[in-house]
Amino acid sequence: MNGKRLPIHRLIRKILLPFLAAPALALAAAIPGEPAPAFSEVDAEGKSHSLEDYKGQWLVIEWFNKDCPYVRKHYGSGNMQALQKKYTGQDVNWLTVISSAKGKQGYLEPAQAMAVAASHSLNTSAPFLLDSDGSMGRAYGAKTTPHMFVINPEGKVVYAGAIDDNDSANPAVIPQSNNYVSAALDASLSGQAVAVASSRAYGCSVKY
């Protein structure tokens, strides 16, 4: 029997080792309550940003396409910039990402992106992150512009979804809309649970 037991021990070790080394299976989406997917992207100024850089800090990630009517709804009305200003003022980091592929609607070269950032009075922590290969967008499961994510200092997603509860393209509805992002930030910054942690993101499809 001893002779038999040895190979079984060895066998288990031989099986276990390769699997423990296997990378953990990661789902391609940012899911509330789960760790945020890693990313590493270069902004329009050529500076690189990764999830690691924002460890221990609050982070909002926003998907952007300058030609999307829903992005225009929130930028034309000044709603998005006001949010950016309010929360970056409270030490929340804010990254705005363009995942449009080259040749698709909304794609911007770095110089153009700088110009658009200026013309849109962007109030974010960095000029646009340029994700033209779509790797960050796919990792987060970003479907629409705008698609919003809030990440806490522990690196977990606390909110994923639409900016608010009104999917009209008309900026006139903004004052009556319930803004999910600011609700999530206000609640979690004051240590409370987020009431709505997920919603159907509305807007234009991300042009991967």
């Binding site: 038999k4 031989k14 296997a22 009517p69 009209s168």
Partner: protein, 680 residues
């Protein structure tokens, strides 16, 4: 701002009064790619509800949306103010799925009418509506549209329609979902199906047509719009939807179900009654048990068990000793299943992506099995006296039967048979206790026939009496074992590359040589023989550490290796895709491959229909393929996934394929295509 807007409105209104409409009201709205007009009668009938609507004429290739627009987009909005009339909610004709790149929207191809009921108030002579509209029209880019429309109509004895408009209204009204009671399908249950998925099961209320209906989730906050995975069996159809990440599990959900002509609302389907889940588990356990029983007949298990059984038929054996053996054997089987199951669950908890059959993805295990089968084959042939003695011993000693049980499980792993796939797939997604129950049910199934034979002298007596024929049969049974050795060597070759064959064959040679040494010379030679085997084994296992070569197989006779991007691209182009999830160590897979998938007629069919053929080879551990399998609710091979043209979710084919099943795919997809073209 508002003064300005009022001013603009006033000017526009004045302009319309003067220019556009003699009646002073605006009866149409339009924007880029969209024109909207009323479908309404010239007069309404007193006190009678009349269904009227907004007729959207949309340019070809552009879309407007359903109430749940899906992954992007937005449903149109109608802000209706009525004078002297009651208006009902918007009635939405059932949509189609509109795949846009990696997203799915729910909307309409071509024109559509959004309907609602209008009832004139008692005594009203005229009804009037003032509507603010907003819509979104998309091709790839999206353009929002805004407009205002007015309607003013007299109320008369009866409704008076323009014939064409009424026909148009009727056409779309027929597509508005009817009540659940009239639906030819009813919801059987809705349960959580693994992480982030929800499964709705329906069955026909009556005869049930041949059509598999489309199901659309009404709430986009809860379920993704992407086509659910569809599995149908005996009239029951299961739709597995992906949940919106992070959305809390609701207590109930609404769906619209459509046969392509009409539609019905399945409202407030409750999620996951516990009793139903238990029933599902109970069914899975039964399937696992049946699958385990069938395993006994598989070529890898059958010889081992037959010989064991003969050992128990010897003259010295009493019924009680046989029952003891049977129980020990069962304990061996169950303990091994429990051990493997626990390991699988532990690895799963650790985040590793593994599936059933994983023990055969490791070269050392395969090599051990080769050695084991080789020694058993030699001993069956009578070459190997020691083995003979070992076998006799195995027939009597306690450890022997237990070891046979362990062995049976290990050699059974490559033979995923019927019933096993679903049970094992479920085991991976279920909570640990239930998953373990499924593993044990498989073990119980595997052990049951042997235990039954041991425990029942009546059955055992029916077997032919022991005699010299047993010797001949044992020699005969050596040959399936040799065949297994050849096959496992091939598997080793697939894992390690060319050198696999050589390494394995050299070890076998060393073993045979050592046997001859030990048999032919004295005690010293026997020691030398043991040492030779030890050195050879050590050398060979050492050689296994060489990293497996990366073998990029781009295309093997029309089959491409697994490439997620290529699959997504093909799906985006509405090209059909067939994925063969397979492994060299899976016998069932190899049989299907040789007899069906690579037969000339099937390959011709695939070529004629421009099917992208993908071979997802799981011979060695591959996290991406494991993930793809688990997305299909499986974690064993074979799995055959068929994406019909335009389908976003696969249909899963049975584990034992036949040519006519493949042929049926193309006749069905042709039919489907025809229905698609029929749309107005």
């Amino acid at each position: 701002m508002s003064i300005f807007r009022c001013g603009v409105k006033a000017i526009l209104f004045a302009a319309f009064v003067i220019l556009a409409h003699p009646a002073g009201a605006q009866s149409t709205a339009s924007g880029d790619h969209v024109r909207v007009r009323w479908l309404a009668p010239d007069t309404f009938a007193q006190g009678n509800a009349e269904t009227i609507g907004f007729y959207f004429e949309v340019d070809p290739g552009w879309h407007v949306y359903w109430r749940n627009a899906g992954d992007s987009g937005a449903a149109p909005r109608f802000d209706i103010r009525a004078v002297d009339a009651e208006v009902g909610d918007i009635q939405w004709p059932f949509p189609v799925r509109l795949p846009i790149e990696h997203l799915t929207n729910l909307g309409y191809e071509g024109d559509v009418t959004y309907l609602f009921a209008l009832t004139p108030k008692a005594g009203a002579e005229r009804v009037a509506l003032d509507v603010n509209l907003e819509w979104l029209v998309c091709k790839v880019d999206c353009i929002p549209g805004f407009g205002t429309m007015q309607l003013s109509r007299p109320v008369a004895q009866q409704a008076n329609w323009n014939g064409t408009d009424r026909a148009l209204r009727d056409r779309f009204q027929a597509r508005v979902p009817g009540p659940q009671e009239q639906s030819p399908w009813r919801a059987v249950e809705m349960v959580e199906a693994g992480a982030g998925q929800l499964r709705l099961a329906i069955e026909p209320t009556g005869e049930g047509g041949a059509v598999v209906p489309q199901v659309f989730p009404v709430d986009g906050e809860l379920l993704a719009a992407a086509e659910p995975r569809v599995e149908s069996a005996q009239g029951r159809v299961d739709y597995t939807f992906t949940r919106v990440p992070g959305a809390p599990l609701p207590t109930a959900a609404d769906f619209v179900i459509s046969d392509g002509q009409r539609a019905w609302l399945l409202d407030a389907i409750p999620v996951g009654a516990a009793a139903q889940q238990w029933r599902a588990l109970w069914l899975l356990l039964l399937a696992a048990f049946a699958g385990g029983m069938i395993l006994n007949l598989m070529p890898c298990v059958f010889p081992v068990l037959s010989i064991k059984l003969f050992g128990l038929m010897g003259p010295g054996a009493t019924t009680s000793s046989r029952v003891g053996e049977g129980l020990r054997y069962s304990a061996g089987v169950l303990a091994t299943f429990a051990g493997l199951g626990a390991m699988l669950l532990l690895l799963r908890a650790g985040g590793a992506a593994v599936g059933w059959g994983f023990q055969l993805q490791s070269a050392p295990v395969v090599l051990l099995l080769i050695l084991l089968f080789w020694l058993m084959g030699l001993s069956f042939s009578g070459v190997f006296e020691f083995g003979h003695r070992l076998m006799n011993m195995a027939g009597r000693s306690h450890g022997g039967s237990f070891a046979t049980g362990v062995l049976a499980v290990f050699v059974a792993a490559p033979c995923t048979g019927p019933f096993m796939g679903a049970a094992l797939g479920a085991a991976v997604t279920l909570p640990a206790a239930q998953a373990m129950a499924i593993f044990l049910a498989l073990g119980a199934g595997l052990a049951a026939p042997f235990l039954l034979l041991c425990a029942s002298p009546a059955v055992l007596n029916r077997l032919p009496a022991p005699g010299p024929w047993m010797e001949k049969l044992r020699q005969l049974l050596a040959f399936p074992l040799y065949a297994t050795v050849i096959w496992l060597l091939w598997v080793l070759g697939r894992i390690l590359g060319e050198s696999g064959w050589l390494i394995g064959a050299l070890l076998l040679l060393a073993v045979v040589f050592a046997l001859w040494l030990g048999k032919s010379f004295g005690r010293g030679a026997r020691v030398a023989a043991y040492m030779l085997v030890a050195v050879a084994t050590a050398a060979v296992f050492g050689a296994l550490r060489t990293p497996p070569p990366v073998a990029p197989q781009s295309a093997d006779r029309g089959w491409h290796s697994y490439d997620k991007l290529a699959i997504e691209q093909a799906l985006a182009q509405n090209r059909p895709v067939f994925i063969d999830y397979t492994a060299a160590w899976c016998i069932t897979c190899q049989v299907n491959k040789k007899l069906v998938l690579e037969s000339a007629s099937v390959m011709d069919l695939f070529r004629a229909n421009d099917v992208l053929l993908i071979r997802a080879d799981w011979t060695t551990q591959d996290a991406e393929i494991t993930a793809a399998l688990s997305a299909l609710g499986r974690n064993s091979v074979p799995v055959y996934a068929w994406y019909a043209p335009g389908a976003r979710e696969p249909e899963l084919l049975p584990q034992i394929l036949q040519e006519r099943m493949i042929a049926a795919l193309f006749t069905e997809s042709a039919k489907f295509q025809y229905n698609e073209d029929e749309k107005p």
